[in-house]
Amino acid sequence: MTVINTETVLDVRHLKTSFYDDSGTEVRAVDDLSYSVHRGECVAIIGESGSGKTVEALSVLRLIPFPPGYVKSGEVIYRGKDMLQMKDEELKSLRGSSISMIFQEPGTALNPVMTIGDQIAEPLIYHKGMSRKDAYSRVAELLESVEIPNAKERIKQYPHQFSGGMQQRAMIAMAMSCEPDILIADEPTTALDVTVQAQVLEQLEALRKKTDAALIIITHNLGIVARYADSVKIMYGGRIVEEGNPIDIFEHPHHPYTLGLVRAVPRLDLPRSHGLHPIKGEPVDMSKLPQDCCPFEKRCAYATVECGSVRPTLTEIASGHFCACFHEDMTEAERAALPKAAPKDVAFTRPEPHIGELSAVELPLGEDLSAIMHERIARQDPIPETINDNILKVEQLKMWFPVTKGLFNRRVGWVKAVDDVSFSIQKGKTLGIVGESGSGKSTVGHCLIGEYDITAGNVMYNGQSITKMKGGKLRRLRKEIQMVTQDPFSSLDPRMTIKDAILEGVHVHGMSGKDGKSDETLVREMMELVGLNPVFSTRFPHEFSGGQRQRISIARALALEPAFIVCDEVVSALDVSIQAQIIGLLMDLQKELGLTYVFIGHDLSVIRHISDSVIVMYLGKVMEMTASENLYKDPLHPYTKALISAVPIPNPTVDRQRERILLTGEMPSPINTPKGCNFCTRCRDATDLCREEEPVLKDVFNGHYVACHYVKEMETQWVNI
């Protein structure tokens, strides 16, 4: 941790920002927030969606759109002056020069019709009064400082010619151009791949250290916070519920919400058996949040009467460690002994019934439901003995898409999205496929459900090749293999009720009325199975939250009684507390229904947590394939190692002691894959052999497959260190 200068650069006092909806209802997005930032300090503000963290950041620079937003009261003191009272002209001179900001989606935060150079030069011209020519040469320097190659050429390009990582680095260059005192970064790396995230954050740190700028980083990613922050604020319901240094927050969390967050995130460094503890319920609906209570009360396992009627204030519980909870001084054991029991220490707890608004939608799993499951299991066809227990076998799968050009769509090349991938999955197990965007992981998933005509290879389901299936057989396969996709907002038809969505596939496959069950019974059972209250079956998707929609998607898939589900980034769009709920639900359903999963994702810790074995993909090829326990303990491929080291571990003590491998550059285009090993352009150990000859995927030890020429040699070498 850095030594913090005591000079305060920004002092936020009692900030309140509200939004007014069409009916005039006030939503207190930020409700009485105070904190200060010292020179050169990295302050992290953590919160889930709807916690008010972004609104808070925008309020500081008065960027809240009015109407409907409105900074009601408070002070934001910068250099002795209250920014909220400043004249527009004065404020404008601070924005971008003394206090600058980086936004979440670099793709939309840059103007698509202006060149990168013009956009970075703007603050230099406005604030520093530079001439266009001087500004441009400064822009080139700035782009070089964030390691954008051919900066002089790149200046003239437009944002869409930059990759996501480069766009965000250009954003950083822009924000740092006038050497601000304070940099506000709102989810700066959420849209980026882990390896790129690590690069971008390192560059941001380096630039910031050089100019001694303070950084306010707003994120939901606990790992990033553990890695970089000097001071952490946890926000919930528009208020800070706990603040302190990272050690306090991650190792001695006092607020039940902080505790919940820390426990809800899968961690790479802990064994898989270490369970996730989801926070029950949904993040608080700010429009319905009463003033006189703890915002976390409805989700809190330790809540007492007091919590529902009095608002706890932020009090200092140890030097520099503040917490807003009536029960913070209790020990873990004392808390557990409170009337309401704490979540049981098992791998998964189904959401418990809760009081009030939140309980209405989600249901607990009742005792009678296990009967439904047993009945289903009994009904399932026994697997023929002859085909051992591999439910799915993929042999040398290739999925190439043609690249065409010209008037007659001449084929000029191939995008080798999936190139020679083989694996098999045992019944009832989970195979994780992890990779960065463009690795081909989702394409594999789509091949498995028979969506594409594969270029070469074979996909065998229960001993039969799905590539040759036609007619009735193919229809049966479509029922057997289901897919749940990433975006719960676009994967459900907004004009179909939940009931219709669940029943659509059932009707298509003529399964309606099977076993004498009415459609109503089926919908009720399915909704109960995924923990939703069947009363809401006639509602439309927009009335549900992201996590609930994902449950609906799962119910829709389960209604067809599949044996196999492809889960494509199913938890990527969800908040951590909800993510843990859905992971738990999936694992639980697997145990009870004997489902087999292919779980596709980019989050290594989630994938490792849920999977029995893991495939690491890079540019359409398998780099490493092993049991998921081995993945963190004993990664062999240099890419896997880099990937693991790029994932920050939400524990400052552990994370700040790890060796970090920073990958340079970005994944090459899948049209022009490099000669030799696909990873050779970014591998720090690459040799001429790697650049010439492609390594084969070989079984190194007991089913641990690696595609690297130097695995053995590197192993001994690294053991020596």
Binding site: L63, P65, S97, E122
Partner: protein, 317 residues
Amino acid sequence: MGKYIAKRLLLLIPALIAVLIIVFALMRMTPGSAVDALVYKLTSAGIPADRASAEAMLGMDKPAVEQFFIWFGDLLRGDMGNSFFQSESVWNIIKTRMPVTLELGIMTLLISLCISIPCGLYCAARQDSVSDYSIRVVGVVMMSVPVFWIATLVLIYPALWWQYAPPTHYISFIESPAENLRMFLPPAILGALMQAGMELRMVRTVVLETMRQDYIRTAWAKGVGERTILFKHSLRNAMIPVVTGIGGALSMMIGGSVILENMFNIPGMGAQVVNSLDNRDYPVVQGCVLIFALFIMIVNLVVDIAYKWIDPRVELK
């Protein structure tokens, strides 16, 4: 770019052929043929005529398919044929009428843009203010008042009050700019007002839409002023849908200016087509529709190229 334009121009050919077939067939499917019209004209002029001789005079005694190929073959040689009833070639008619319509159309477009873009931007910048509401109300009035009614007022009242009437004889701009404008400005302004009413509402909406985008927030966060944000960051992005609208409006103006052309006695294409349709003057209608189609297709091509110029993300393939 050159390759792209060449490709697009090549693709015009099949589209134009389709237009030719459709217009040729449609003309002949309209009840009351040119033959009847000719017989009527001749007999009323005291010349005895029967259908057979009239058919022969018009070249319509041959089967329709053969007629089509004769017409098509002539077209390929650059001959659009002669009018049935005006003793002039179709090309000559188009040659004199097209510039008139184009002048009116382009004037209308320019005037409407000069009104709609500044007003739309102003409304967007002062969203929900009194002036925003007033301008929008005026806009709705402008687009909803029937143009023939307003045109009647514009023709009648100046004549009543000041004994003023716009010229009734067409004089080209080169001959006498003042006289020409005296004739063209009133209908152009009227057409433009109607157009501007629609356009300004569209400009306002798209500018407001772009003002909500993340990159505008980035610009605010950089400390850029409102004027620059509006003109530099927002307007160019907003132009993308506006250009589409302008393309459509221009195409419509060329074909739909009949009312104004008739009322202000402007000898344009619209008036000509209506007149020829009444007479069943097949070659003139066919020729004019061909030119309309070509014009609309070229406007579309120009709009697509304009996209590329405005939005660097657009790839012309």
